[in-house]
Amino acid sequence: MPDAIVAESLSKTFNGSVKAVDQVSFTVREGEIYGFLGPNGAGKTTTLSMLTAVLGPSGGRATVDGVDVLRHPHELKQRIGLVFQESTADQDLTGRENLELAAALFGVPLRETPARVDELLHRLALADSAERLVKTYSGGMRRRLELAVGIIHSPRVLFLDEPTLGLDPQGRAGFWQVITQLRKDTGMTVFLTTHYLEEADGMCDRIAIIDHGKIVATGTPSELKDRLGGDVVTVRPLGKADALEPALKALPGVNSVAVQDGSFRVKCPSGDVLIPKIVGTATSLGISLAGVSLRRPSLDEVFLEFTGREYREDEGPSATDRAVFMTRFQNARRGRR
């Protein structure tokens, strides 16, 4: 499969010293959904801005759909769609007028424009509000309109910058349903930045984790999770428990033990089988435990593994929101089958 996006040592320095993106290299295959995952300020949007010719790189080069982003920005803009993280549609125009304007700017043939606009309005459930001014739209409707504007010209590569930021779980699930269907129908390549871990996990074929302007890990979600070596059991002893670490390492089925903030992170293929053994070992050593928790491999764990810190709660949705989103997303997928 040919590469839709190729970035080679792409760098961006602001004010001569602040390295927002530092020698980033990666490729995105045609038809892939590629996620760029990282906390706020990691360099996600800066990378996307360089790939879409919004921002000039300080170093390196990139091609999108075979077009050099630095040399041919105008040609590039014909081939890509871009959905910004904030609403950029004109609020004093109706939804239909915004789409007609975008169609004219992207050069959608005049004869095809009405049908294309109608198709997108229906597909994105905006047909009933097409003649209303955008300033009267809800947040979810504005996001859907942003997407419609981004794909009006059937781009070969679609860039989504935090596209579901601020949407409720239902809105987010609906948004991704449309993207999944679009990809299925058109084979479009999607480059996505997000800090919603479960979105990246559920939607992306491959993921790059970016932190402090550098890519720290790439792979499919399952590859990344496999690199963790299975489940993670976190053991929290009450008080000092120096003797516990070698004892845990000696247990059969334990891959590794790491000490973090007085707790032991035990990696193993099957955590639920190991937990009784851990509790037994601690008891035999006379060590009381404050708690034992089991975490299946997840992108939260992957993030912790590669960046050395927890994924901060304020950088993503609440646990409830995430659970609701995943349930609705999975239901939506099942419903389609």
């Binding site: 921002l55 910004f84 004109d90 004093d92 700017l105």
Partner: protein
């Protein structure tokens, strides 16, 4: 420039203007207040000359208001220059608000070029001041028929003269729209924009012959005003409305000067807009 993109963007701007009645009413209020209050307040300025013999009065009017029949007529023609400046300053403010709302970012992410974007805003931004200028002239004539001081056109305006008036109004509006668009694309904050605009439009108007009687201006101010684009535009109008007896040059001479200003301003604005819309380095 791509005609389809340019016309789509122009349509967008015109739709936005038409959907903002508050802005239309506000832009109408200022020239109406000037015509009804300021102009009427100063209309007695030349009435003291009524007691003079006709030839002596004509000579005095020639010196003071360059051959206009009275101050109000002179002032009403000058008001066209006034609205050419004040009604175009919003085009730059709209650019700043579009930047703040992300609309400009969206347009810049499309294949539309800086020329398409600038050209559309320039044309749409000139429609309002041109319409307002003709409204001012019409209202000034109407006031004269309502028993108040009004615009009294004493020369016979032929087709060429009317065309010169229309072109002068259009060029003046395009020139100031270029200036304010260049500022709008360059400046990021609305408060900075309005501070800069006030620092420009007041000196421009106060160093022009738009409102002052020419003969009452000190010679140094007359020298400065002679090169002011607002003066050049209103001189084209006054020559066609009141005759060229008291002007050293014909109307086309002033029109050429105005076109020179407009071309220069357009070139500078184009460069600044292209730079503002280029990928950030």
């Amino acid at each position: 420039m791509n005609v389809r993109r340019w016309s789509a963007l122009t349509k967008r701007e015109l739709l936005k203007i038409s959907r903002n009645p508050a802005a239309i009413v506000t832009s109408l209020m200022l020239p109406i207040l000037y015509l009804v209050l300021f102009g009427q307040g100063f209309s007695g300025f030349t009435s003291q000359l009524n007691s003079l013999a006709p030839s002596q009065r004509a000579a005095e009017l020639g010196t003071l208001v360059l051959g206009a029949p009275d101050y109000y007529s002179y002032f009403a023609a000058g008001m066209v220059g006034f609205v050419g400046v004040t009604a175009t300053l919003f085009v730059g403010a709209n650019v700043i608000f579009d930047k703040l709302f992300g609309t400009l970012k969206r347009t810049a992410a499309t294949p539309a070029t800086a020329t398409d974007i600038f050209g559309a805003r320039l044309v749409a931004g000139s429609v309002q001041p041109v319409a307002l200028a003709f409204l001012v002239l019409g209202l000034a004539i109407l006031l004269g028929h309502l028993g108040l001081s009004g615009l009294n056109i004493t020369a016979s305006v032929g087709v060429v003269g009317a065309a010169e008036v229309v072109v002068a109004i259009l060029i003046l509006s395009l020139m100031f729209a270029s200036l304010f668009l260049a500022l709008g694309f360059t400046i990021e904050q609305p408060q900075t924009y309005f501070a800069v605009v006030n620092a420009i439009n007041l000196p421009v108007l106060l160093t022009s012959a738009a409102l002052y009687p020419w003969g009452s201006m000190p010679s140094w101010l007359q020298s400065v005003a002679s090169y002011n684009p607002v003066t050049l535009a209103v001189e084209v109008i006054r020559i066609n409305f009141f005759g060229d007896t008291f002007y050293p040059h014909p109307a086309w001479f002033y029109l050429l000067g105005l076109i020179g200003w407009a071309v220069g301003m357009f070139a500078i604005a184009t460069l600044l807009v292209q730079r503002a819309l280029a990928p950030k380095t």
